[in-house]
């Protein structure tokens, strides 16, 4: 769930709850005030009745107004408690209430009940004791409350609407730096020279986040660079001792008169030194590809390059009775010649090395891809692991870096290198 949606949801619920509570309190407060107002009116009326009785020694004439009714009923003395009550008020239709109401004049209930507020009190006239009921209609009060409540609800809805709109518009803008940082992080490549830019933001949190991200990226890059420098230096330092061993071996075999056993040992030494050398060269090459040190590119005809490479390896695959067939179309690529050569050489060497005597190799070059297929083991290779560094089959004499290098070369060219196995053919495809 997005932070905005979560925030909006919480915000919405709180706002509604608070508004409802406010509404209820508001309602109660207003009705309390208005009821007190009514009660005061009723007390005034009561006082008027008392004054009248004191002055005239008889009950006033009962009269009715549109919003007030007073009734006197005889009662036994001291049975009436003075109290305010919520009651109903029977409103009689006026004669001129309009045609709509006149129809009811001939019926029994010539009027309607409205909510009212009453005061029950008592008055003694001479020796007679009367219960007095003064009722006032509160319909106007209710109307007022309803109006206030409607306005309140309206304000709530308006507020919510404004909140939602502001969230949509402003929050999105507020969070923009965050999304910018996320985008940079996603684009971040440890081997890339591109730095994460400093973000212009007035919001402290995002500023801090950006600083942390920039620092982290710089540190990661720095460490990675250190590691690469180390690999490069280590490989370079290895070159001289390898060169010495190599030259000493070359010198040693000039001394002649070796027994068969000695020459076998020397042969193994040669093999090991040459493997050590290739391994070292491969590491150096990987560092160079990673550092984009081999950046000179030129237009090349891949078809000619493949043909050259096939001719180059002719003696080797023919010696193992491998039948190589190819179907090449003209294809121009813009790439580093040295790397392209290594790529082709690696693919072809693999196809020969992992083949069996009398096997087959098929090379196909189209406008979109270069495919090298070879017979070999009857089982498919693990296509996730084969491109990993130092992953190799147990029988392989290679460095275990050939396919890693090939893949990295392809990536540096913007190509992709894929493996598949079908119908007894191991297939490596370079997709341009």
């Amino acid at each position: 769930m997005k932070l905005i949606s979560r925030y909006n949801r919480v915000n919405l619920i709180t706002t509604i709850v608070v508004m409802l509570i406010t509404g209820a309190v508001y309602y109660q407060a207003i009705s309390w005030i208005l009821t007190r107002q009514k009660d005061k009116d009723l007390r005034d009326e009561e006082q008027e009745i008392f004054d009248y009785v004191t002055l005239n020694h008889h009950l006033p004439q009962t009269f009715q107004t549109t919003d007030e009714q007073i009734t006197f009923t005889e009662a036994s003395p001291a049975t009436v408690n003075r109290e305010f009550v919520d009651t109903t008020y029977f409103k009689q239709w006026d004669k001129d209430d309009g045609p709509h109401h006149r129809r009811h004049h001939y019926g029994r209930g010539k009027g309607e009940y409205e909510p009212g507020r009453g005061l029950i009190t008592s008055v003694t006239v001479g020796d007679k004791y009367y219960k007095v009921l003064i009722v006032e209609s509160t319909v106007e009060t209710e109307d007022l409350i309803r109006l206030i409540f409607t306005i309140t609800i309206g304000v709530i809805l308006l507020l919510l609407l404004i909140l939602v709109i502001t969230n949509r518009l402003i929050l999105k803008r507020l969070w923009q730096p965050f999304y910018d940082i996320m985008k940079e992080l996603r684009l971040f490549n440890i081997a890339d020279a591109r730095k994460i830019p400093k973000l212009e933001t007035t919001i402290d949190e995002f500023g801090e986040l950006n600083d942390a991200v920039v620092d982290m990226a710089d540190k990661a890059k720095h460490d990675y660079k250190d590691l690469k420098t180390f690999t490069e230096n280590a490989s370079h330092e290895l070159l001289t001792p390898i060169a010495v061993i190599n030259s000493k071996l070359d010198t040693l075999i000039q001394t002649e008169n070796f027994s068969e056993r000695q020459s076998k040992i020397l042969n193994d030494l040669y093999g090991a030194v040459s493997r050590l050398n290739r391994l070292n060269q491969s590491l150096l090459l990987l560092v160079k590809i990673g550092n984009h040190l081999l950046h000179e590119r030129k237009q090349m005809n891949l078809k000619l390059l493949v043909e050259d490479m096939i001719a180059q390896f002719e003696e080797i695959y023919q010696d193992r009775d491998i039948r190589l067939t190819y179907n090449l179309t003209n294809k121009e690529i813009y790439a580093n010649a040295y790397l392209a050569e290594i790529l082709l050489s690696n693919l072809l060497t693999n196809a020969i090395r992992h083949n069996f005597t009398g096997g087959r190799i098929i090379i196909t070059l189209t406008e979109n891809s270069l495919t090298v297929q070879n017979t070999g083991d009857e089982t498919s290779l693990n296509d996730e692991k084969i491109f990993a560094r130092f992953h190799k089959s147990s029988s392989s004499e290679g460095s275990g870096l050939g396919l890693t290098i090939s893949k990295e070369i392809c990536e540096s060219f913007g190509f992709s290198l894929n493996y598949s196995f079908s119908e007894r053919f191991h297939t490596f495809t370079v997709v341009f």
Binding site: H236, L239, T240, I242, A243, V244, I245, N246, S247, K248, L249, D250, T251, I253, Q254, E256, F258, E260, Q262, S263, K264, L266, N267, Y270, G271, S274, R275, N277, R278, Q281, L284, K288, L293, L294, E296, Q312, F313, E315, I316, Q318, D319, R320, Y338, E341, I342, S345, N346, T349, I352, R353, E397, G398, S399, G402
Partner: protein, 225 residues
């Protein structure tokens, strides 16, 4: 031939010196920048083997000094740096060739021979060994008067052998010379055997002596005996 070996790594320097020292060859060595600079200003050499990283200075400066003085010595740079920029820098400054460490001594010898051949036989492009006559421009081989048709690799191999006359050349060195550094077939050099067999057969059929000998299963030797 007079050769100067400028290389700070003693083991390597000695090996090269030993490999190049033979009848008719004089080898001198320099282990640091100062000695090297003194020697190139005192004597002339047919070929100078120049290491770039030297104690006391940069080999490139020695190359510059040679060219500023218009000394005609051939220069072969031997460097641990396998970068195109260094190679181009060296060649632009007037070096004749550039060889990356580690290398086989036979490869070094072949490169030096090629440089000296270019320097000494101005105009003449014939390489003659007994009855074998090679036209370096046309890349044609004759035994006596009889032309021998060699493939591109067989021709390169013959030149390689001639440059390393009397030396045992390892199979690794041959494989790397003919198929490049990328050759990754350490477990199987049988294809070299068939290759050598072919070239021997062609030469012998044309009436040539069989100069190529197998040496203890480690390599081959091109020798007059």
């Amino acid at each position: 031939m007079k050769i100067l070996i400028i290389e700070d790594e003693e083991g390597l320097r000695e090996s090269i010196e030993e490999y190049f020292t033979e009848a008719g060859n004089v080898c001198e060595t320099a282990g640091n920048y100062a000695t090297a600079l003194t020697k190139i200003n005192l004597y002339r050499y047919d070929c100078i083997l120049l290491d770039i990283t030297l104690p006391g200075g940069n080999g490139m400066d020695i190359l510059k000094s040679l060219k500023e003085n218009n000394y005609p010595d051939g220069v072969l740079i031997i460097s641990a740096k396998n970068s195109l920029d260094d190679r181009l820098d060296g060649l632009n400054l007037g070096a004749d060739d550039y060889l990356v460490k580690p290398f086989h001594l036979s490869e070094l010898k072949a490169r030096v021979s090629a440089i000296i051949r270019r320097k000494t036989f101005n105009g003449s492009n014939q390489l003659i060994f007994n009855e074998i006559n090679i036209d370096l421009l046309a890349k044609e081989v004759k035994v006596g008067k009889l032309p021998v048709k060699l493939t591109r690799k067989e021709y390169a191999l013959l030149l390689y052998f001639l440059a390393n006359k009397g030396k045992v050349v390892s199979k690794n060195a041959i494989a790397e010379h003919l198929w490049g550094d990328g050759i990754d077939m350490a477990n199987n050099f049988d294809f070299i055997y068939s290759h050598i067999k072919n070239i021997r057969k062609k030469l012998v059929e044309a009436g040539c002596n069989d100069y190529i000998q197998a040496a203890y299963g480690m390599g081959y030797k091109f020798t007059e005996q």
